[in-house]
Symmetry: C2
Subunit: 369 residues, 2 copies
Amino acid sequence: MNGSTERGAPVNTASPARQRPASDSARVTALLERGRTLATPVLRAAVDRLAPPMDTVAAYHFGWIDAEGRPSDADGGKAVRPALALVSAEAAGAAPETGVPGAVAVELVHNFSLLHDDLMDGDEQRRHRDTVWKVHGPAQAILVGDALFALANEILLELGTADAGRATRRLTAATRKLIDGQAQDISYEHRERVTVDECLEMEGNKTGALLACATSIGAVLGGADERTADALEAYGFHLGLSFQAVDDLLGVWGDPESTGKPTWSDLRQRKKSLPVVAALAAGGPAAERLADLMAADVKKTQREFEDFDETEFAARAALIEEAGGREATSGIARVQHNKALEALDGIDMPGTVRDELVALADFVVVRQR
Amino acid sequence: MNGSTERGAPVNTASPARQRPASDSARVTALLERGRTLATPVLRAAVDRLAPPMDTVAAYHFGWIDAEGRPSDADGGKAVRPALALVSAEAAGAAPETGVPGAVAVELVHNFSLLHDDLMDGDEQRRHRDTVWKVHGPAQAILVGDALFALANEILLELGTADAGRATRRLTAATRKLIDGQAQDISYEHRERVTVDECLEMEGNKTGALLACATSIGAVLGGADERTADALEAYGFHLGLSFQAVDDLLGVWGDPESTGKPTWSDLRQRKKSLPVVAALAAGGPAAERLADLMAADVKKTQREFEDFDETEFAARAALIEEAGGREATSGIARVQHNKALEALDGIDMPGTVRDELVALADFVVVRQR
């Protein structure tokens, strides 16, 4: 594998032949910026439609205000999905603006799922801030999540075109997969063993499906045929799996400085993420020692477990690596990244748009955070 | 007013001129039966699409299985919405079957809202059975609610027609109102005073909007123009408000034998329902005594309050009636029932279909439970 083993640089999936020139970094920055600039005002106008107090709760969730209602400028994330939705429109020969309602709808569904998942999972923090259910209570987290989901459909359907109907249908299918993925995630928590395939299926549902939708929705709104939309979805789906594999690597070996999460964060949460699942599946002495430790770990309370000495987590991370979990996950990230790029081969689109999709794929997969 | 003051027969809104012949009862029974027969298999097939364990949780919610997973035949309600959706298709000159996907989508949205509302409100019982969050936990109630909402859109959009897009847009608008209504309901709980208009707005959102959608969605799927669909929505909206006013009367004076709820059920829950709100708004000595009692009541715990002697609730009910809350609510039921029927005047449809809608309106409003 190409990935360095130092913390904070867990994987570099780009093969030398595909190494992007330095100018790609500027290109990606510009695409992300364009996505934010075009989508954010429309997203804010959509959220403003919500009746009080849901508008305020949603504004808090998006980081536009703080818990006391004062204007805030919290980290809203990288906004990769809006950027992809706009390039998606260009892939169909349409103006990037054509993708904006799609970008906004996908962001609304993404945030609907965050609101509900944080409550279901009992997560108290997101992007260094208290989650909505912690600040505004469980009822508001449920209600505002529901409202964002409905709003996503509203934004698309009020376009009133046949393409908007097609886009909504794809978004609905992606949302169903998102829900399936969360159901699998919850059920896996209570199981002793999860296979690599099960983990990939869950991550395909939780991460791949909506990224796939972001990558096709602009094109659908721009009138792309189903074959083109399907190919763009395939690109986004594999990109999502590659992204998630990198995220799983960062969840174990990521540098807190750049991830914004505690060290060994997925291990602290006893997540059955890809590196863990792949390590256990590999067999051999390291896998067996890891399995023994984990069998003892599940008997501890979350508090006891979190109070572990750093060396305890380091030992588990070392066993995962020794058993091959790190390399296997890097391999999955690399394979899925390649599959994403291969999916683009089947689409007839302007060369500059193809370059943008390749640059975004490299950005999403080769990253520090 | 025409309504008897005995328990269990709180209102009869039909004026003598509109008194329906006995054969209308058979007509309504046949319409309800047709709705159930055509919609239930499609609803069950839709729910079967859910991944485990969501399919099981949903089947429990719908009363098709019990908490142990054994087949069950629990009371699934009157199924007025499916019946209306099918007549709605006929109002546009289409076959009743045309309305089936609309009937199913509306039922899915209705049950999505029940799953989430029961959790938000902490309600432990629905239709004499433990609610989903009590049996399967809060996460499943959230997740399966989300899945039913997504499924509703899926069922409509997979028809792939422009009319299906229009139907989904109307369903989405209704769902947003449903969510607004629940937000209002929650916020009113924490307020000392709610006006009659605010109460009607909340009930219009919580009950009127989805009944309005049920009443137009079949016609939209059958190709009705927007004017016809709007008139059918108006019929359904006012019918919903009339229904809710009757429900609020039953919530205070309903006979437990026929409502399946405890005596004074809304009073036990300290609900700010129409009779209470109207009584307080009326002013005068009875309203003042009621306000004083309620001000003391809010300081009690729910447990202390529920353990009240029957005479305490009877005293409150008597004050509500004395202040005019009962008569005002009966008046609203009557006015809204008339508005529903008036809305039908603007639509060109077969006389038999009009008779069916009138019979269903009378059934919904003049009822024991």
